[in-house]
């Protein structure tokens, strides 16, 4: 409920801010192109104190987008309305055969959910803040890609979140598409992971 209220408020305020300063035109194709550029495979490890790190990996094949174009909202970062962060959300279904590999388990990956952030209009000056931030969820076991929050919760269901298993990471530079800050949620248990950047095959 709170998230819906905030989103609705953000959309409303974005519209209000538009009166104060004309926002940049929305480039839906750019945002969709960022989303479909996510990695189709990768390997990660969960560091363990006993030295036996947990290895996990994924491979996926993109299918159709679940929505015609990304959802977009401008979130003001100051009272003037001149500076704003442009948030976008998109979902793509995945083809059968896409899967996570966690130990001996291979839960099916069913969709990609991306919560994006376009900081180019935020007034930022430091390269430490990226132009784009993509928060990528590779979702398993949700064949309708309903999440992250169950619609109508708590009236419709006692469980707030939809996804029991997903691999999450952030991309801070679309040139590299380097996964950062990864974590795995496996059957509701969450672990911080590291991207396993190669090494000998």
């Amino acid at each position: 409920m709170r998230m819906n209220t905030l989103l609705l408020g953000a959309l409303t305020l974005g519209s209000t801010a538009a009166l104060a300063a004309a926002p940049a035109p929305v480039d839906y194709d750019l945002y969709r192109s960022l989303v479909i550029s996510v990695r189709t495979q990768g390997a990660f490890r969960v560091p363990m104190p006993d030295g036996h790190d947990l290895g996990l990996s994924f491979h996926l094949e993109l299918a159709q987008p679940l929505q015609e174009r990304p959802l977009v909202a401008d979130l003001p970062v100051d009272a003037s309305g001149d500076h704003y962060v442009r948030a976008f959300w998109d979902r793509l279904m995945l083809k059968d055969g896409s899967a996570l590999n966690v130990g001996t388990d291979r839960p099916p990956l069913t969709c990609v959910y991306v919560q994006g952030q376009d900081n180019r209009f935020s007034g930022k000056t430091s390269p430490l803040t990226p132009d784009f931030l993509l928060k990528v969820y590779l979702v398993a076991n949700d064949f309708s890609c309903t999440g992250p929050i169950n619609p109508g919760w708590p009236e419709t269901t006692g469980v707030k979140e939809t996804w029991d298993t997903y691999l999450y990471y952030e991309v801070r530079d679309p040139t590299l598409m380097l996964p950062t800050a990864p974590r795995i949620r496996y059957r509701w248990n969450e672990f911080q992971a590291v991207f396993w950047n190669g090494g000998l095959p």
Binding site: G9, V85, Q117, T125, T129, L176, P179, T180, A181, V194
Partner: protein, 312 residues
């Protein structure tokens, strides 16, 4: 509505700030100088190449650490890693990357080295920022750089010394030169990085803006030529020496020239530790820390500076 508006402003700020994450103990420069990262505003291509260096350094270290003792064909291995890094340099990132995202094993094996490198690289960056933006090209510029250096030196636990060191520090250890002998192209790539950094400083010492712009453009062009066909394209017999490559910069800021050379030597030392089979796996972490301590110590391997004013 007003309350909702401010709630959302706060949300917006939070969202904008949610671009950083904690993955390790970082060395943070606070408050940052007013000029921080303005070099990249004026010279975005050069700034992106510097960000690519961070990626390349970290990737080399991670590969050498993870694959240590398992590399049967060093030449093929070198070609593969080199191609990967060349691709990043050809398409450099616009944002500074955290080493922990590229090299998660390296950062936890060399924590002191990493703290020192982070701190030193911030000094590099902020000096570039000052040199590229200062309207004054005389005493005020020098004073501003001294202020930056004073803030750097105020954290002696991680500040690489400005004392001039003998090359024996780098080349006189039992594991020395293993990297350059085993992976000559990767070594020349790293020396070319260092050449690029040094020459940027020199280019920014030019008295006029057009000359500085031209100098940075020339440095970029010459750097790309240096790494175009490694190992043949980079004709270095030794690590580039700041006093030789950047004489104006070194005469103006001798304490920086020596500190940067000491940083570059530590880079090579880490590469040698990771490459040499004379360093036991169990000793890698301790050797990294031991050698890093020497880079903090102004007396270790100290020699007279080629340019007066280097030794504190």
């Amino acid at each position: 509505m007003k309350r909702l508006t401010w709630t959302l402003v706060v949300v917006g700020l939070f969202v904008a700030a949610a671009s950083a994450h904690e993955t390790r103990g970082e060395t943070v420069w606070y408050p940052m100088p007013d000029e921080a990262y303005l070099f990249g505003t004026r010279y975005p291509e050069a700034q992106r190449v510097l960000f690519a260096f961070d990626y390349g350094h970290a990737l080399v270290y991670e590969r050498l650490l993870v694959d240590r003792g398992k590399i049967d064909d060093p030449e093929a291995y070198e070609r593969r890693v080199l191609a990967e890094i060349q691709n990043v340099i050809a398409h450099p990132p616009a944002t500074k990357q955290d080493e922990a995202d590229i090299a998660p094993n390296y950062v936890f094996t060399f924590p002191l080295v990493l703290n020192m490198m982070d701190w030193s690289h911030l000094l590099h960056q902020f000096v570039l920022d000052v040199l590229s933006t200062s309207q004054d090209r005389g005493p005020a510029l020098v004073e501003r750089v001294r202020q930056i250096h004073a803030q750097y030196a105020a954290k002696p636990a991680v500040a690489i010394t400005s004392s001039c060191k003998s090359m024996v520090y780098m080349d006189g250890q039992y594991f020395s030169k293993a990297f350059r002998r085993t992976y000559p192209s990767l070594n020349l790539l790293i020396w070319s990085y260092h050449w690029f950094q040094i020459h940027l400083f020199e280019a920014l010492m030019a008295p006029t803006q057009p000359a500085r712009d031209q100098g940075v453009a020339d440095t970029l062009r010459r750097f790309r030529a240096l790494i175009a066909d490694l190992p043949d394209s980079a004709d270095f017999d030794d690590m580039p020496d700041t006093a030789v490559e950047a004489p104006v910069f070194s005469r103006t800021f001798p304490f920086l020239a020596s500190a940067f050379d000491n940083n570059h030597m530590l880079h090579d030392i880490v590469s040698d530790i990771l490459t040499s089979d004379r360093v036991a796996d169990s000793a890698v972490r301790a050797e990294g820390q031991r050698m890093a301590r020497m880079d903090l110590d102004p007396l270790a391997y100290q020699v007279p500076c080629k340019i007066p004013g280097g030794n504190p």
